[in-house]
Amino acid sequence: MTLMPISSIDRRRFLIAGGAAALGLLAARPGLALSQADARALIGRVMGDVQRIINSGQPEAAMLREFEALFSRFGDVPTIARSALGPPARNASPAQLAAFTEAFRGYLARKYGRQFRRFAGASAQVTGARQIQRHWEVITTMTMRGEPPFEVRWHVSDMSGRNLFFNLIIEGVNLLAVERQEIGAMLERRRGNLDPMIQDLRRAG
């Protein structure tokens, strides 16, 4: 399996978008304005912050608040949230979407912030980067003495207007894929009603 089939579809879409931009129909947003160096630098800062938080020795609640701030600052949370919600996002009111995004932000920080804690004391570094379609994948490795290295891949884009990450792959586990499934199951449990699901989400993670 190579990148070809995906990227050829994407290229077509991209050309359409590029043509539209040239005609002034879209705000000028050149593809891959984000350089590899920028993407690596962004994730280097994120990893630095993650390490600072997990090694700070503060209580869990304070740590999770810091993770939430980190997700807000370096992650494109509205896009992640919208993608996790999937098609129901189209029928949601702006107020519902905003409430969902806020609940999702806290949920992400609780669920994934906790997982990073086991890497207290580990050394972390950016070990590579590659282009996938119009985005960058930055590869980071966490190493604890005597243990096999642990890999987290960050997907980074400037499509939101800022350089932000929009997905992470933890040892092969794709956060967006996991959350699409989980949010879908939570919505199903509430028979498709968004508001009670948002209430559930505030307590989950």
């Binding site: 190579t2 096999p148 884009s157 939101s160 929009f166 894929a177 199951a185 989950a204």
Partner: protein, 251 residues
């Protein structure tokens, strides 16, 4: 005598398993191939019930401590000993996959941790940079081009695939350690390995809790996590799983 019998048994069993493992091939482009979902869900529930009964793990997070428990020396020792006992299997599979570099690393690790590390209780090889590269016959089947097959939840052993389940059986028949040990020793190593699995399960409880057990559909989450993590371990390219959340903006 028993060992000669085992060897003679091995080839036909192996051949049968390789054939059987390709019974319900996963079609290209299908990420989750689960034609036995009803049976799988039943086993999944049974395994969870067994786990609740056996493991000293609080069922919900509120009952757990605010902070994760410190690495418990006994747990770490059990995990290390169990990993050390599995290392000869890793080497066999390294060789079957024509990966001599990994085979040498694992063999060295086994030699050092078994002797200086007192049977794997300590991990001096890890401190020397030989962190060990787990391997199994499921991965060998993958290297040989066998299809992943259907997703399977095995009794007691949990999430697997047809290919990995076949691999597990072959691994237990092909273990070089078994040929060096007598029956009592084999029973002891089996018990130690199971204890290591329990220790491993407790060690990762802080991940399994929020990611699986407390999720809206634990079965579906466990399935996705197993398949994605396993494919990553096997080194399968992840491009087909790439999600572009910005693509919708152009639709």
């Amino acid at each position: 005598m028993a060992q000669v019998f085992r060897l003679r048994l091995l080839l036909p069993v192996l051949a049968a398993l390789v054939l059987a493992s390709g019974c319900h091939p996963r079609p290209a482009g299908v990420e989750v191939h689960d034609p036995f979902e009803t049976t799988n869900r039943a086993w999944f529930e049974a395994n969870l019930a067994l786990e609740q009964a056996l493991l000293p793990v609080a069922p919900d997070r509120a009952e757990r401590a605010e902070d994760p428990p410190p690495p418990r020396p006994l747990r770490t020792a059990l995990r290390r000993v169990a990993a050390n006992l599995s290392t000869p299997r890793w080497v066999v599979n390294d060789l079957l996959q024509a990966r001599p570099d990994r085979g040498i690393e694992n063999a060295l690790r086994f030699a050092i941790n078994t002797t200086v590390g007192l049977g794997g209780l300590f991990n001096p090889a890890g401190a020397m940079g030989l962190s060990g590269r787990p391997n199994d016959f499921g991965a060998t089947l993958h290297a040989w081009g066998v299809n992943e097959g259907a997703y399977k939840v095995l009794p007691v052993f949990g999430p697997s695939t047809e290919r990995d389940a076949a691999g597990m059986v072959v691994d237990s028949l092909l273990d070089p350690l078994d040929f060096a040990l007598n029956r009592t020793e084999r029973t002891a190593t089996f018990a130690l390995r199971q204890a290591g699995r329990v220790a491993e399960r407790i060690e990762y409880d802080d991940i399994l809790g929020p990611m699986v057990l407390e999720s809206a559909d634990p079965y579906a989450q466990a399935r996705l996590l197993y398949l994605q993590n396993r494919r990553h371990f096997l080194g399968e390219p992840s491009e087909e799983e790439f999600i572009d959340p910005y693509a919708d903006l152009f639709d």
